[in-house]
Amino acid sequence: MRWVPEGAKDLRQRVLAAVGQDPFRCYQCGKCTSTCPMAPDMEHPPHLVMRLLQLGQLQELLPSASVWACVSCETCTARCPQGIEVARVMDAVRQMGLEEGLLPREGAVPFTEIFLHQVKNYGRLWDTMLGASYNLRRLRPFKDLGLAAKLLRKGKIAFRPERISHKEEVRRIFERLGGDR
């Protein structure tokens, strides 16, 4: 009988429930990693994420910035010889990090929070404030100021957000399906 590490079965069920993909089908060929444009920036590139899931090593995986470096280009999904939607597995790990509060504090995590906060409150994205809020939160308000000046000249800076009429419908979606902490 095959030995399955402690916790690995539960973890497999969590990934299956979240995104419908089975990490146990991965045979570690490494094609996802060799094709991943962000692999050079990852401590745990995609094939290692799959391996750590197979071994039940969630605690090793969650605080790492690796899955948050993924840009969802879906090249891994397109090329996996086992037909695993690897990019969705990366999503599942991000989601478990949000649920357990084990997260890197920079990069895509605060970006995601600001983005979803806007969508929940206005129904649409206020892109001018997306970059500005992110840079403010990182305490580097002057980053990309040159770009902001160019956008201002082209009339592409929005001084207020667009709001939809039925904001309550979008709010209800967020209340029922969570996602924003």
Binding site: V71, T75, V119, R172
Partner: protein
């Protein structure tokens, strides 16, 4: 005249309004009336599916239900990211009953899954290549690098309307306009737009590689079909001076529209010197 639903998405209402402008400018000539879905919401883009899959599905499905409520059977999305999320939502909800139940509960109504969502490129290909369109002002001599990026093609099962490894529909449109489409292997490589705000050096590494490859192959400009790719390729190319225009802007020029009518003056890297040099404006 066919009536299609139109989902511009957030970028086309703000920082990429030249894309919206040029799509609206060409639609009549292509025999399509685009009706913007009333009270549409953001599709949630990547942050929604990173946080919870069902959230992304429900944000998309609300718009699809609105379209259905207006009697629209086909919705055109010019943004590759919105298009991608809609197609993934429809395909997931058709297959996964449990997720559909959750989404319907959050929406307070049944999910309309029979609506067809297409990307602008599909419409252009149908009206320009299949219908043998004759350009009023052919873009002869202009060398274009057609850039597809990720989200028009991947994940292939849900979104690709072309060969996901070597797509050619954009090149076919460009040739029908009288321009030359260069061959290059970077047309489906990721530009890193989703890291464009948070990890600038990574976005620059990817975008710079793509733009310099187009330059080496002798392209005059890059044509994009996504506002996120267009902006990222423009601002994170590392000062290579390569114009990046929307495919709809080139269609507009070939239809005889003026540069301002298609918003060429709103781009951050001015394509006019290149277009003048090639004698197409």
């Amino acid at each position: 005249m066919t009536t299609y639903g139109y989902y511009p998405g957030c970028a086309l209402h703000s920082s990429s309004r030249e894309y919206d402008l040029s799509v609206r400018a060409i639609s009549q000539a292509l025999g399509v009336e685009l009706r913007e879905i009333d009270d549409w919401n953001c599709c949630g883009a990547s942050p929604a599916h990173w946080s919870r899959e069902e959230l992304s599905l429900a944000l998309c499905q609300r718009n699809i239900n609105l379209a259905r409520g207006e009697g629209l059977e086909v919705v055109v999305a010019p943004c590759a990211a919105c298009y991608n999320r809609f197609r993934v939502a429809l395909s997931t909800l058709r297959q996964d009953e449990e997720k559909r139940r959750q989404v319907e509960e959050a929406l307070g109504q049944e999910a309309a899954l029979e609506v067809r969502v297409i990307h602008l490129l599909e419409l252009l290909h149908e009206r320009i290549v299949k219908d043998e369109f004759i350009p009023e002002r052919p873009l002869e001599g202009l060398k274009v690098a057609c850039y597809y990026g990720c989200l028009l093609l991947r994940p292939p099962k849900a979104v690709a309307e072309d060969d996901p490894e070597n797509p050619t529909k954009m090149e076919e449109v460009i040739r029908a306009l009288g321009a030359e489409a260069i061959e290059w292997p970077q047309k489906t490589c990721c530009c890193g737009a989703s890291a464009g705000v948070t990890e600038v050096s990574r976005a620059e590494r990817l975008s710079g590689g793509i733009v310099s490859a187009a330059k080496r192959r002798g392209a005059d400009l890059i044509a994009a079909a996504c506002p996120l790719c267009q902006v990222n390729l423009e601002v994170r190319q590392g000062g290579l001076g390569m114009p990046v225009v929307y495919i709809s802007q080139l269609v507009g020029l070939a239809l005889g529209k003026g540069p301002k009518e298609v918003g060429l003056d709103l781009l951050l890297i001015d394509p006019m010197p290149t277009l003048r040099k090639r004698g197409v404006v």
